[in-house]
């Protein structure tokens, strides 16, 4: 019986093997033709939004980065206004009406032409849905023909192109097609492939792109808010590049040029402080400004910033201002002139009360590091410091005015013009109005700047205004962030040469 069973098992095994052999013969098929690997670029982004609707909130900044939306004009690497979807813009003699001519070749990714009607509807929609641009809803738009229309701004507005038409919030979308939140139809070199709200965004080549041939097949924008994660992802090859590289990561990348390409260019994000005129005397403010060593701070920040004189880069025509050199002896003399004397600890005091200034900061854009350095620089001349770190400046010291020195960071030059920064910083009732700087003379100059059409005169006015803030020791300008981008050596055109963060991939981006 056992022998019979063994024989049966051998037969079953033999049949199984035979069956396997037969199957193998049947499965032999010619090898498939090799498929060309798609060129997909992977980029890390620090922020992610819940919608791709370019007109709402700050989404337009990101749809521009993703290469999906384009604007009528764009700001070049040299800060000049350049045509994009529009070929030209002409202002009327009275400066109230602009005539915009669209590029007849411009079309959406679905093949529809970009017409005056659609552009006017887009601009009007931004005025309706975006709180920052409500003034646009008061403009009068008139269609001339399919590629020409006029905008009447109601008052002279020389910076319409830079402030509005080249702003990423004014990205043009086909409002009659697609889902504006998840897959808007736009004119850019890439179109949405998959969108995870507040997560990863994947775009693919726009086969109908009107302005050249798109070199990449697609781009994946990985959401990574943590700097160390980005560093490790770059080292492991998970991503091909990103911008806003930290000082530590920059040093690591620069030590291995065969694997990483690091590009550093001057940019427009400003680190500055406001001195509260309501709590600090003229001499104390003067002493503070004479003490702060911006070059020393830039050294600590490892090449991520450059020492600033004013809010704008020195190469810009509106960046021609001067400030006194660091002079701690003169700083101490200013304090002594104010009645302060040094106590046994080497710190200044008046009427038995030590001089201590309250420095408020938040932990971003290296402001916490700057606060620590300032504390040491002030202590060296005998000024005590109380450091107050907060999570969010916009809901604390900026709105309460409870500080002696407030550290802050903002993009000073959004569009190659000084008005945005000047208006935000120095206006009465502006962001820092509580610090007591605004004065009538400055206000009059800002009003003049608002409507001045001559570029040279605009620069002159801006220089005058900024110099006033320096001479009055109302502000201190510490550093201008450099834009630092890292990528694999073969990657090109990911916005590494643009000083603006809202330009990244384009048709010429390649890897």
């Amino acid at each position: 019986m056992k022998k019979l069973l063994a024989l049966m098992m051998i037969l079953v095994l033999a049949l199984s093997l035979a069956a396997c052999g037969k199957k193998e013969e049947e499965d032999v098929t010619p090898e498939p033709e090799p498929v060309a690997e798609k060129k997909i670029l992977r980029i890390a982004e620090s922020f992610a939004y819940a919608s791709l609707d370019a007109h709402k909130d700050y989404n337009g900044w990101y749809t521009s980065i993703y290469g999906m939306t384009e604007t009528l004009f764009k700001i070049g690497n040299d800060l000049s206004v350049q045509p994009l979807l529009a070929t030209k813009a002409e202002a009327s003699e009275d400066g109230l009406t602009w005539t915009i001519t669209l590029n007849p070749k411009a079309k959406f990714s679905n093949g529809n032409a970009v017409t005056s009607d659609m552009v006017i509807r887009n601009l009007q929609r931004v005025g309706e849905v975006n709180d920052s641009y409500h003034d646009v809803s008061e403009y009068v738009f008139t269609k001339i023909d399919d590629t020409t229309f006029t905008i009447n701004t109601g008052s002279v507005y020389p910076t319409l192109l830079t402030d509005k038409l080249a702003s990423s919030a004014f990205g043009i979308m086909d409002l009659d097609a697609g889902n504006l939140d998840n897959a808007p139809v736009c004119t850019g070199p890439f179109k949405a492939k998959s969108f995870e709200p507040e997560g990863t965004v994947e775009v693919e080549k726009n086969e109908n792109y009107w302005n050249g041939t798109v070199k990449l097949d697609g781009v994946v924008f990985e959401y990574m808010s943590d700097d160390e994660s980005k560093l490790m992802a770059m080292q492991s090859g998970e991503i091909d590049g990103y911008s806003s590289v930290t000082a530590a990561a920059k040093q690591i990348y620069e030590s291995d040029p065969s694997r990483y390409k690091v590009t550093v260019i001057p940019a427009t994000r400003l680190q500055f402080y406001v001195l509260n005129k309501n709590t600090l005397s003229d001499n104390v403010r003067k002493a503070i400004n004479l003490t702060v060593d911006c070059q020393d701070i830039a050294n600590y920040l490892g090449g991520t910033t450059s020492a600033a004189v004013g809010p704008f880069g020195a190469s810009a025509p509106y960046g021609k201002v001067t400030k006194p050199a660091v002079d701690t002896a003169a700083a101490e003399a200013a304090l002594q002139a104010d009645g302060y004397t040094k106590n046994s600890d080497g710190m200044y005091e008046k009427n038995g009360k030590p001089l201590t200034i309250k420095v408020c900061y938040y932990s971003a854009r290296s402001l916490d590091t700057i606060a620590t350095i300032l504390e040491r620089q002030f202590k060296a001349v005998g000024i005590g410091v109380e450091l107050v770190g907060v999570e969010d400046a916009d809901s604390t010291y900026r709105v309460t005015g409870d500080y002696d020195l407030a550290l802050y960071c903002m993009i000073a030059d959004k569009s190659g013009d000084p008005y945005y920064c000047v208006n935000a910083l120095y206006r009465k009732g502006g962001d820092w109005g509580l610090a007591g700087f605004p004065n009538d003379e400055c206000e009059a100059l800002i009003d003049e700047l608002k409507s001045e059409t001559d570029i040279n005169r605009r620069a002159e006015l801006a220089n005058q205004i900024v110099q006033m803030t320096i001479d009055d020791n109302a502000f201190g300008y510490i550093g201008l962030f450099n834009k630092t981008t890292v990528s694999a050596p073969s990657v090109v055109n990911i916005g590494e040469n643009s000083p603006f963060d809202f330009y990244a991939v384009n048709a010429d981006t390649d890897k």
């Binding site: 000082a247 530590a248 040093q251 690591i252 932990s363």
Partner: protein
């Protein structure tokens, strides 16, 4: 016989207790005399010495601002150890008093105190501490307050349980019949009898409080720069871990060693107490 407690004397319990007591004592002394021992000013920055590797001048190297890591670790010991010990002491006193009151008086007092403790215990301690510290802002006091909000509940529950067990004892009845007031009975009669387990618990808590405060500082919502504190030092140097690992390892190793010593000390206190209870 209490079946829950092994009352056999553990071998060498007292020896271990003495060893860890000495080690903890050394740490406390080191932290007290840290300013004298520090080879450099722990707050002095130097752009010429950024991320310098360990040397004779800087035994643990320097950090991203050129500060001496060893000096900052020494100064950080003072912050970390004293804040943890002070916090345990404060929560111990508050928790014990509330727990004793709840156990002794019972009724509405018991319900109010213990249900409030239950509410606080419903949240994980660290999550609640992060929320509180986030609302209050940075600083040592706020970090200690954030950790202390839930820290007292452990002692309150223990004290209450002890009082409930002890208040049926004959000597308590005797004290009551002899006309002693409630406060007198609680502090003169009950407290000495329940102090042992309470101290054991407190000594075990020192290590976890230290980790908690360092954790808040690591997250940026505890003790802030420029004050030297181990958690905040690790946080501020972690971006440079590939370039200057010493700036992270220094405070990290100090934290591990200190927490281990205090945890072992707590265990030894428990063992010694068990031995004494057994005897």
């Amino acid at each position: 016989m209490n079946i829950l407690v092994d009352k056999k004397p553990r071998k060498g319990a007292k020896t271990r207790f003495i060893v860890f007591m000495i080690l903890a004592g050394i740490l406390v002394v080191l932290s007290v005399i840290a300013p004298k021992l520090a080879p450099n000013d722990p707050y002095e920055i130097s752009s010429a010495n950024i991320n310098a590797s360990p040397s004779a001048q800087y035994p643990m190297g320097t950090d991203r601002l050129g500060r001496c890591v060893f000096s900052r670790v020494l100064m950080g010991a003072r912050t970390s150890i004293f804040s943890a010990v002070a916090l345990v002491a404060i929560t111990f006193v508050i928790g014990s008093l509330l727990g004793m009151a709840a156990g002794w008086y019972g009724g509405i007092v018991d319900t109010l105190i213990m249900r409030f403790a239950d509410i606080l215990l419903a949240f994980p301690q660290m999550v609640l501490a992060i929320a509180v510290a986030g609302i209050l802002g940075g600083g040592m006091f706020n970090a200690m307050l954030a950790m202390g909000i839930t820290g007292w509940t452990v002692y309150a529950r223990l004290a209450r349980a002890q009082v409930l067990a002890l208040k049926r004892e004959a000597y308590v009845d005797a004290a009551r019949l002899s006309g002693c007031s409630s406060l007198a009975i609680m502090f003169r009669t009950l407290l000495p009898n329940m102090l042992g387990p309470m101290i054991v618990n407190a000594s075990i808590q020192i290590g976890s409080m230290m980790v908690g405060i360092a954790g808040l500082s690591f997250l940026g919502i505890g003790i802030n720069e420029p004050q030297a504190e181990w958690g905040s030092m690790i946080n501020n140097s972690r971006a440079y871990i590939q370039l200057a690992p010493w700036a992270v390892l220094g405070p990290a190793i100090a934290t591990i060693i200190t927490v281990m010593i205090f945890n072992y000390l707590g265990d030894c206190v428990r063992d010694v107490m068990d031995v004494e209870a057994g005897e």
